[in-house]
Structures are given as structure tokens and as C-alpha cells.
């Protein structure tokens, strides 16, 4: 039984890490209706820029992080100016295709600027089991994962306040509902998009730092976006809490499936199991657990 709980908790904590990436997708989708394919590339770019500034310029981590934040905000603003602004009122698929182009640009640009070598990122958080838990329960729970979960919780709370309690948040929701209607009541669409892309850049930075410290800063970071997709389908593309709950369900179920079902089918199922789960949810509840139900007049 102890082993079951250990797998479950490890899965939940992994799920939080997936949710962290999923949050970036939710932000953009919520504010602009665009599925931002480039979110994984933004995670990679943010982590690589931080570690690049640290190594190439000898900056401390605490200086490199704010500079990277500025870079991510500038990237967000530039994306709005150069990519999105000319495409206002175009079909969603056009905007989606634009983000695919953006993905390849960011990936290539990041490697051009900082090189393609694998780098180490040290955060002042140790990736070791928590002794207190180990002594009391015999379970190995990573200190790093627990702190990552706390960071994620703080981030979600901050985003929830931003969306629900501020003027900017109301504008974001209005733009998400209808670009043209929002424009007609005087909401500056461009500003709203620039803000939301900048916030998504910040979320990418947090995700990039945590994933980069966990796995090393390397090109493979873009693949963490793949882990976020079933989370989004499950939690809903427009819900911040949905991303968290979706992440927890996906993380826990994929680990339990790998450990308890995997051995009977040759193992290695955690790569596709979350997608099967997401598909099942999609059939039952297409808008996801917490997504907004879309009702259209025909």
C-alpha cells in the first residue's frame, strides 16, 4: 500500500509540473482564442536565456532571471506587433498556423544565440527526498517537486486574481469572448494581447527554470509541451484551475498506469496513456472538466 501511495504522490507532483506548462497555453487561449503552439519553445528559450546570461556574462541567477523576464516580455510584445496584429479577425486556424511558425523561429533563434550544448541549471532547491517524510513513512518524496507544487499554487492564485479581480482581467475575458465586440467598447485589443503574451512569457520562464533545473537546459525542454496537451484537453482550454486539476489527474493516472498496467503490456505506456484518457474525456465532455461550454446560435 505504501508503494501505491508513493507512486500516486510522485504522479501528482509530476502532474503539477505538467500543469505549469499547461498554464501558459490556457492564458493565451483564454485571452485570444489562439492555441499557442509556441509555448514549449518559449519554455526552452526562457530557460536557455537565463542559463546563457549566467554562464556567458557571469551574472548571478538572481540578476539573470529578471533580465530574462524583460526578454520574455519583449518577445511577447514583439509577437503581438509582428505576428498577431496583422492577423486580427482572421480565422483561428490562421493564428494557430502563425504560432507554429513562431515555434520554429524561437527554437532556431535560441540555438543561434546561445548555442546547442546541454547546460546545467542550479536553483537553490535540492532535488532530494524530504527526510522528515522518509523517516516517518518510508516514502521518498522529492523536496524539489514539493517546492515546485507550492510555486505553482502561488502562480495559480496570482493568475486567478489577475483574471477575476482586476480591470485588465475583465478586459482579457472580454477580448477572449469577442475581438470585435471588445474593440467596439474601447478595449485596446493590442495592449491586452501584449499583456497576455508577456504573462505567458513569465509563466514559460517559471516552467523553464523548474524543468531546466530538473532535466538540464536542452532542446528536449520543448517536449514538455506534449505533456501539457492531455492536461488541457482534460482540464479545459480556458480554465486556470482546470489546468491544475487536469495536471494532477494526468500525472497520477499515467504513473499508476505505467506501474500497475505497464508490466502486463510490455511497459512504456505512459507516453500515450494520458492521450487515451484525454480522448475519453473529450468524448464525454468536449469542453473539458472546467472549460466553458460553448453554445452557438445556428
Amino acid at each position: 500500500m505504501q508503494f501505491f501511495f508513493e507512486v500516486l504522490i510522485a504522479g501528482l507532483l509530476s502532474g503539477v509540473m505538467y500543469a505549469l506548462v499547461a498554464l501558459g497555453f490556457v492564458l493565451i487561449f483564454k485571452a485570444s482564442g489562439v492555441f499557442n503552439f509556441a509555448q514549449g519553445a518559449m519554455v526552452f528559450f526562457a530557460a536557455l536565456t537565463t542559463v546563457g546570461l549566467k554562464e556567458e556574462f557571469g551574472l548571478s541567477l538572481w540578476v539573470a532571471i529578471p533580465i530574462t523576464m524583460v526578454v520574455m516580455v519583449l518577445l511577447g510584445i514583439a509577437t503581438e506587433r509582428i505576428v498577431l496584429r496583422p492577423l486580427v479577425n482572421q480565422h483561428d486556424i490562421t493564428l494557430f498556423m502563425a504560432t507554429i511558425g513562431l515555434t520554429f523561429f524561437i527554437e532556431g533563434f535560441a540555438q543561434l544565440v546561445w548555442g546547442s550544448t546541454v547546460r546545467k541549471l542550479d536553483l537553490p532547491i535540492q532535488d532530494v527526498p524530504i527526510e522528515f517524510v522518509m523517516e516517518r513513512t518510508g516514502m521518498l518524496i522529492s523536496q524539489f517537486d514539493v517546492i515546485a507544487a507550492i510555486i505553482c499554487a502561488i502562480l495559480v492564485a496570482a493568475l486567478a486574481i489577475l483574471f477575476n479581480k482586476t480591470k485588465v482581467g475583465r478586459a482579457l475575458r472580454a477580448v477572449a469572448d469577442d475581438h470585435q465586440a471588445a474593440l467596439s467598447v474601447g478595449i485596446p485589443l493590442q495592449h491586452v494581447w501584449a499583456i497576455v503574451w508577456a504573462v505567458a512569457g513569465f509563466v514559460a520562464l517559471v516552467a523553464g527554470l523548474l524543468w531546466g533545473a530538473r532535466n538540464g537546459v536542452q532542446f528536449a525542454l520543448i517536449f514538455v509541451a506534449l505533456k501539457a496537451l492531455p492536461v488541457l484537453i482534460l482540464g479545459g482550454f480556458t480554465s486556470v484551475p482546470g489546468a491544475i486539476v487536469g495536471g494532477l489527474i494526468i500525472g497520477a493516472s499515467e504513473k499508476l498506469a505505467e506501474v500497475y498496467i505497464g508490466p502486463y503490456v510490455g511497459g512504456g505506456i505512459e507516453g500515450w496513456f494520458p492521450y487515451v484518457l484525454a480522448l475519453v474525456f473529450l468524448l464525454i465532455r468536449p469542453e473539458g472538466l472546467f472549460g466553458e461550454k460553448i453554445i452557438r446560435r445556428i
Binding site: V7, F57, Q111, L112, S116, P129, A220, F223, K255, G267
Partner: protein, 439 residues
């Protein structure tokens, strides 16, 4: 404090010039296409390996070429993708008088061009990867898995674990986990490990990791529960660093882990930090410094012709592997010249013969400034591998150090039997009549 992109632009300019040089190669130059990958998922390994190969080409040219014949080359970016690799091969194979040989450094690309080689008469080397049964030159006359194949490496691993335990018989009753990249690459050593399991009586537990392996909590909890005596890490790319970090997280001793050589570079251990200390892997290069590397520093980097933008990577695992590969290619060309005419440009067919009759013994290694840098190699039509020997290295937190002073060789007879059986099956399937090609 220079910006990387300035360096990158400079390197690009050099690469562009180099590519142009290749394109303008005269008939007196030996042309080698370079199917490299410097961007994408596996760029770190690709830039080190192909950087090492090009550095060695530059050294050979600086020293006057191969009996006066200079080497020319052209790079084509594959991003490690089979489709792009095949496209690069097709684009370059007839350029500048024709390709001398090809080394794709990727199993997918190697499989993609395997059947084209006999028709194009271009030999392909697959150093430390690809089909293990391609060691049989009677069935695969144009393929050279030089030094060691996956099967011999797996045999070397079991031999090392046996020696470490106090004898092969001591492996009886032990548990060995094979933690592998869930792909053809990860499954390649199955026949060898299963044969040893039967022969020696240990328990083999196979645990796959789905690509790319960015999260391995489930696998390592299974390993902790199984409590094995050893874990073989057959990983690639990000999977390796994640395995090391997750092993540390669940408290599994790194000293009990033995990695494949694609899990044994600085790119695998540095991102893992302290979690990699004490981790051992197989290798076909003895870590350390060699006269040939010093010569590259002096003559190539000293003349600003070095291929690596980061000079700290000179002599790293991938860089040394690239130098080794290029050294063997040059030896193959030199060998061919000895038979077909010194100072002449060799055809792919002639270089194939040169590679099939390699004899890089200790005396030759010393002349090349690479004594003991890789095992001695003697190829033949029946043995395109030429060695089968491996070494074990350990990461001490800063650098790789050799664990085994001598080269480790597993059960060669067993592997040769498996090569013969598997290649015979391939020959039957492809309707090939096994035979040695005439010189």
C-alpha cells in the same frame, strides 16, 4: 564575455566558406559528405562528433593531406531525422567526383541508406551503433560497424559486471535491470542480454522509457521496488540526465548503474550535477589527453580553424569519438592508396577495400598520436567490426576517468554466432548470396 550569436555567426561564416571550399573541390581532393546535426534534440552530441571529425580533417590537410591528397567535405544538416538524412545523402553522393564514404551517426538514417550503398558503391561506417549483424562483411559489404557493435558492448557490460562481482558465476541469482529507450535502439541488446540471462542465471528485468524520457518517476519507483544489483542504462539524449537525477531522488546508488556509451558523455552528466558522481558507462575511447589532440589544439585551433566554438569541449567524449572516426576513415583511404596508387584520389569502392583491410595496431596508433585512445582494430571481410573491445569509465564529478585499465571483451564466440545467424536471415530475406567482394 562574448555573445554566442557572434560566435555562431563566425562559425557559420567559416562553415559557409568551408562548404564553398568543398563545392569548389578539385579532382585532387578526396570528398567526404558530412551528414551532421548541429541543431535540434541531439545537437550537443552531433556538434561534438562532427566537430571532432572536421578538426581531424583540418589537421590532416595542415600536414599535407593523405600522401598529398587533401580532404574536402560539405556539411548537410539532418537534424537527426531519417528523411532529411537520406535527402542529404542523395544530394551529396555524386558531388565533387563522388562521395568517399558516409557516416550518418544515426540509426534511422543508416537504415534509410543501407540498401542504396551497394548500388552507389559508397561504404558507410556506423561507429558504435546501427545493425550489429552488419559486422558480417559477406552480407553487408558496404557497412562497417567499426570498433564495437551494440551486441559486443552488451557482452562487454555483462563481462564487466561479472568481473566486478568476483566472477561470471557470481551473477547467478542477481537482478539486473535493463532501463532502455523504448525504441529499436533500446531493444537492440535484448538477444545478448537474454542469452546471458539463460547462461548465467541472473534475472533480467526490462523497463522501457517512452521517448524522450523527460519524466521517469514511475520507472525508478519500479526499480527501487525491485531492488536490483545493477541497472544498465541504455538511454539517449535527455533520458540520461533525467535517469541520473531520478536515481538520486529515489536513493539508488549511481555506482550500481552502468550506461551504454551513448549515455556516457559530458552532455549526459553535467546537467545531472552531483547526481552523476560515481556513475559508470561503457566507452570505446579511453578518456584522457593524447598527442593527436594536442596537435589539433596547436595546428588547427592555433590557426583559428577549429570547429568547436567552445574550446573547453576539445577532447570531450563526443569530440574524441569524432576524431577517432575521422582517423579510421583516413586510415581506410591511406590503406586503399597503398593498394591502388599513392597520391591518387580513391573511389568509394576502393575505400571500401581500405576499410575492409584496416590494421590499426599499437605501433600505428603510436604513429598517429593516439596510442590506447581506442582499441586496436583489424578488419576483414568476415569481421567489419575489427575489435569488439570496450572500456568502462566513471564520472568523478568533473571528468571521465577510465575504470578498467585494459580493454574488456565479452563472449566474442557467442556474438559471432549471433551475427552469423542474424545476417544469414537478412541475406535470405534480401536474396543476397554471401560472398567477399574482390579487391
Amino acid at each position: 564575455m562574448k555573445l554566442k550569436f557572434v560566435k555562431a555567426l563566425a562559425v557559420s561564416a567559416v562553415a559557409a566558406t568551408t562548404a564553398l571550399t568543398g563545392a569548389l573541390a578539385t579532382a585532387q581532393e578526396q570528398f567526404i559528405p558530412i551528414l551532421s546535426y548541429r541543431v535540434g534534440l541531439y545537437a550537443a552530441g552531433g556538434s561534438g562528433f562532427f566537430g571532432g571529425a572536421i578538426d581531424y580533417f583540418n589537421l590532416v590537410n595542415a600536414n599535407g593531406g593523405i600522401n598529398g591528397v587533401k580532404i574536402s567535405w560539405e556539411e548537410c544538416e539532418t537534424e537527426y531525422a531519417a528523411t532529411r538524412g537520406v535527402e542529404c545523402y542523395e544530394r551529396l553522393k555524386k558531388k565533387n567526383g563522388g562521395a568517399t564514404l558516409v557516416e550518418p551517426l544515426g540509426t534511422g538514417i543508416a537504415y534509410g541508406i543501407l540498401d542504396r550503398l551497394p548500388a552507389d558503391k559508397i561504404p558507410m561506417t556506423t561507429l558504435g551503433y546501427g545493425r550489429s549483424d552488419a559486422a558480417n562483411g559477406q552480407v553487408f559489404p558496404y557497412v562497417f560497424p567499426l570498433i564495437t557493435s551494440y551486441w559486443n558492448q552488451a557482452a562487454g557490460m555483462i563481462k564487466y559486471l561479472g568481473d566486478k562481482s568476483g566472477g561470471m558465476d557470481k551473477l547467478k541469482g542477481k537482478k539486473i535491470v535493463h532501463l532502455y529507450h523504448d525504441s529499436a535502439y533500446g531493444r537492440e541488446p535484448f538477444p545478448v542480454l537474454e542469452a546471458y540471462e539463460k547462461q548465467l542465471g541472473f534475472q533480467l528485468i526490462k523497463i522501457p522509457v517512452p521517448h524522450p524520457g523527460t519524466d521517469q518517476n514511475a520507472q525508478w519507483l519500479q526499480i527501487r521496488q525491485a531492488n536490483p544489483d545493477h541497472v544498465i542504462l541504455w538511454g539517449w539524449g535527455v533520458m540520461n540526465a533525467v535517469a541520473l537525477k531520478t536515481a538520486a531522488r529515489v536513493g539508488f546508488p549511481r555506482e550500481k548503474m552502468l550506461g551504454v556509451w551513448w549515455a556516457g558523455s559530458e552532455e549526459d552528466t553535467i546537467p545531472a550535477g552531483d547526481a552523476a558522481k560515481g556513475y559508470t558507462t561503457m566507452t570505446f575511447n579511453t578518456p584522457g589527453n593524447y598527442p593527436v589532440i594536442d596537435e589539433i589544439r596547436k595546428k588547427v585551433y592555433g590557426a583559428n580553424k577549429g570547429n568547436l566554438s567552445d574550446k573547453d569541449r576539445i577532447g570531450s567524449v563526443y569530440h574524441m569519438r569524432g576524431i577517432t572516426a575521422a582517423m579510421l576513415w583516413v586510415e581506410g583511404i591511406r590503406n586503399a592508396q597503398n593498394k591502388y596508387g599513392k597520391g591518387k584520389v580513391m573511389t568509394g569502392e576502393q575505400v571500401r577495400w581500405g576499410l575492409e583491410n584496416l590494421n590499426v595496431d599499437e605501433k600505428r596508433q603510436r604513429e598517429l598520436g593516439a596510442l590506447n585512445m581506442f582499441p586496436t582494430i583489424k578488419t576483414s571481410c568476415q569481421d567489419h567490426e575489427g575489435s569488439g573491445a570496450v572500456k568502462v569509465q566513471v564520472w568523478d564529478g568533473k571528468a571521465w576517468k577510465a575504470v578498467t585499465p585494459n580493454w574488456v571483451v565479452g563472449d566474442r564466440a557467442m556474438i559471432q554466432k549471433m551475427v552469423a545467424e542474424s545476417s544469414a536471415k537478412y541475406a535470405a530475406e534480401k536474396k543476397i548470396t554471401p560472398a567477399c567482394l574482390p579487391g
